[in-house]
């Protein structure tokens, strides 16, 4: 059938014998039969989906019947268009989109003269409509401003760590001074807050043991590391990811998000990566029965920077 039909013709000028009007298939009858069979299979699949759904079949049966049915039916429709429709190619010229000059002038006259006259007759209503729109514009700004939220105030700097708060693990068990070996790490929460959203969000702290004797990370923190235990906020000072990767030989806490590394022996000083500040350290002490408790809250606000603090 590959006669001369490469040049596009206008559809209206093509007669029934024109090569452009012939189907692509060599044997249209057989192709019609094949496509019809495919469509029947597709329809059977779709009906099968209904039956399967009715009998509450497994989800893979539902997926297979519906997806398969639609796919095969779609294949039939596409093949119909591809093999049995006139193969063309045809052209159809666009008509002029622009109106004639006469039409445009008539329209402008109708809008300006007649419309203006009608509106001008009811000045009060037009003014009220304008006022309504203006009022809407002003009021619309309220939720925009309010969505900026209330100022966070002290919530950014306050955690649930208090003087004497027990450090507990995720099950609520208090941490004892004998619990960790040097090189051990555990995520701790203020007692009673281990299951609460704010406990898991802002209060989470890593307790690391770096030595067997009292450990000082920085001058002024002489009492903060009893028996070699040091506690730091688990929130990265970069973007607040949980700094949960601890490499005990390198004595590094690593943030999984952007590879900030904090040296636990020097007050969690950021020695690599984008974190701008050390992790806040939690002053802790060991009480008379050997349990680890906090001396007070964190040394500074936890988490990433914000606008009142860079």
């Amino acid at each position: 059938m590959s006669t001369d039909h490469g040049t596009p013709v206008s559809l209206s000028t093509a007669g029934p014998d024109d090569p452009h009007m012939q189907p692509l298939a060599r044997n249209p009858q057989r192709m019609e039969l094949a496509i019809g069979l495919a469509m029947l299979v597709g329809i059977a699949g779709i009906i099968g989906f209904g039956v399967a759904y009715w009998y509450n079949a497994d989800s893979w049966v539902l997926g297979l019947t519906l997806g398969g049915g639609i796919t095969i039916l779609g294949f039939g429709i596409t093949a119909w268009g591809k093999y049995l429709m006139p193969q063309g190619p045809f052209v159809e010229e666009r008509h002029e989109l622009r109106g004639t000059d006469e039409e445009r002038e008539l329209f402008a006259a109708a809008v300006v003269q007649r419309g203006g006259g009608i509106l001008g007759r009811r000045k009060l209503l037009a003014g009220l409509a304008g006022l309504g729109l203006a009022a809407f514009g002003v009021v619309f700004a309220f939720p925009l401003v309010r969505s900026l939220g209330p100022l966070p105030g002290k919530t950014l700097t306050k955690t649930n760590w208090r003087k004497g708060t027990y450090l507990v693990d995720q099950t609520g068990r208090e941490l004892h001074v004998d619990d960790l070996a040097v090189g051990g790490i555990v995520t701790v929460f203020p007692q009673g807050k281990q299951d609460s959203p704010e406990g898991q969000a802002v209060d989470q702290t890593v307790l690391v043991r770096v030595a067997t004797r009292d450990f000082t990370t920085r001058p002024g923190r002489e009492t903060w590391g009893p028996s070699g235990y040091v506690a730091y906020s688990k929130l990265c000072t970069h973007l607040g990811c949980p700094v949960g990767l601890y490499e005990q030989q390198l004595e590094l806490l690593v943030c999984p998000c952007h590879q900030s590394m904090f040296n636990v022996t020097s007050g969690a000083w950021p020695q690599f990566g984008p974190a701008p500040r050390p992790l806040p350290q939690l002053p802790i002490y060991v009480d008379g029965r050997g349990y680890i408790r906090s001396q007070s809250g964190f040394s500074e606000p936890v988490g990433p920077g914000y606008w009142e603090r860079s």
Binding site: K82, A181, G244, L252
Partner: protein, 320 residues
């Protein structure tokens, strides 16, 4: 028509299939055939003769509560001389290898370990220089056993930052013998753990403990990942139960060690989760693609999905 269509389809089909197949091989390479050797080591808690002449070795690492890998566990078994040979509970039993293996272990140590760790196993190498080789005295047999049985020791490259897991040079029995010898120099716990009753462990608890304590470095699918300063967390896809428990209790390399904050029951649950769900994942959809997450899945989706759509569009538009 058919021939030219076929000719035009062959090249894109070949390209897409090749790319897709190579990516499947690349990403599905992490499939596991791990065998559970926990049952290999028979748990030997017989008649526990709780002697009054207790001779408890110190823990290699400070340990806290009972049943957390320390010698102060529920069940303790002593030999005739009053030395602790086994301790533990219904979840994990820690056994010291037989003292009869010490001569064999000493010979194996001299052949395989002494050139770096020194004749005295104190980290001073045979040539007399005190270098960066670790002192092995005072380590429990679990530590020695882990490093040898995971193939990391003897190390392939003694100057590398981290020893890689490889096919072990020493057999299981030889590793036990070396562990018996080295830990006899300066007795310490933990002994070599045998995790018991894995099939009845609380896998759900194991998962939450894994997510909290392990997943940060080893990733939630256990595939492992890169860490700081050229170190990495190894994949957990092919690790026997005993080595998982040893790693948790002794903290090899840069891994933190988990002692008093994880009970033996909790360790058993983690081991059950790792040797079960991590090593035999129930991959919805058929292929795990390495458990790498959206990157691998996106690649496959792009190559197969977009490629297939392009081929379909090509077929619809073809007019020859």
């Amino acid at each position: 028509m058919t021939t030219s269509l076929t000719r035009r389809l062959i090249l894109p089909l070949v390209v897409i299939t090749t790319v897709a197949l190579s990516m499947l091989v690349l990403f599905a390479g992490g499939s596991s055939g791990a065998t559970d050797t926990a049952t290999e080591v028979a748990a030997t808690v017989g008649a526990a003769q709780v002697s009054t002449a207790t001779n408890l070795p110190p823990a290699a690492y400070q340990t806290g509560r009972a049943n957390s890998g320390a010698a102060n566990s529920t069940l303790q078994v002593f030999d005739a001389k009053g030395n602790l040979v086994s301790y533990g509970n219904s979840d994990i039993v820690y056994n010291q290898p037989s003292a009869a293996l010490i001569p064999i272990g000493q010979a194996l140590y001299a052949q395989n370990c002494a050139s770096c760790h020194g004749n005295e196993a104190n980290g001073v190498a045979a040539v007399g220089t005190s270098g960066s080789y670790p002192n092995l005295r005072g380590l429990g047999s679990a530590t020695i056993d882990f490093w040898i049985e995971s193939g990391r020791m003897p190390a392939a490259d003694t100057t590398s930052v981290q020893a890689n897991r490889k096919k072990p040079r020493l057999s299981h029995d030889q590793a036990i013998a070396v562990a018996s010898y080295v830990s006899s120099l300066s007795p310490a716990t933990p002994y070599i753990p045998t995790v018991r009753n894995l099939s009845t462990a609380n896998v759900s608890d194991g998962f939450s403990l894994f997510a909290l304590n392990c997943a940060a470095c080893h990733t939630i699918t256990g595939g492992g990942d890169a860490l700081a300063s050229n170190t990495y967390a190894p994949s957990l896809r092919n690790i026997p139960a005993t080595q998982v428990a040893e790693a948790i209790r002794t903290g090899p390399g840069n891994m933190p060690r988990f002692t008093g904050n994880l009970t033996d029951t909790q360790v058993r649950n983690v081991v059950a989760y790792v040797t079960g769900n991590i090593q035999h994942p129930n991959n919805p959809g058929g292929l795990g693609l390495g458990g790498l997450g959206p990157v691998a899945e996106g690649f496959i989706g792009l190559a197969l999905g977009v490629g297939l759509l392009a081929l379909i569009a090509f077929w619809i538009g073809d007019r020859t």
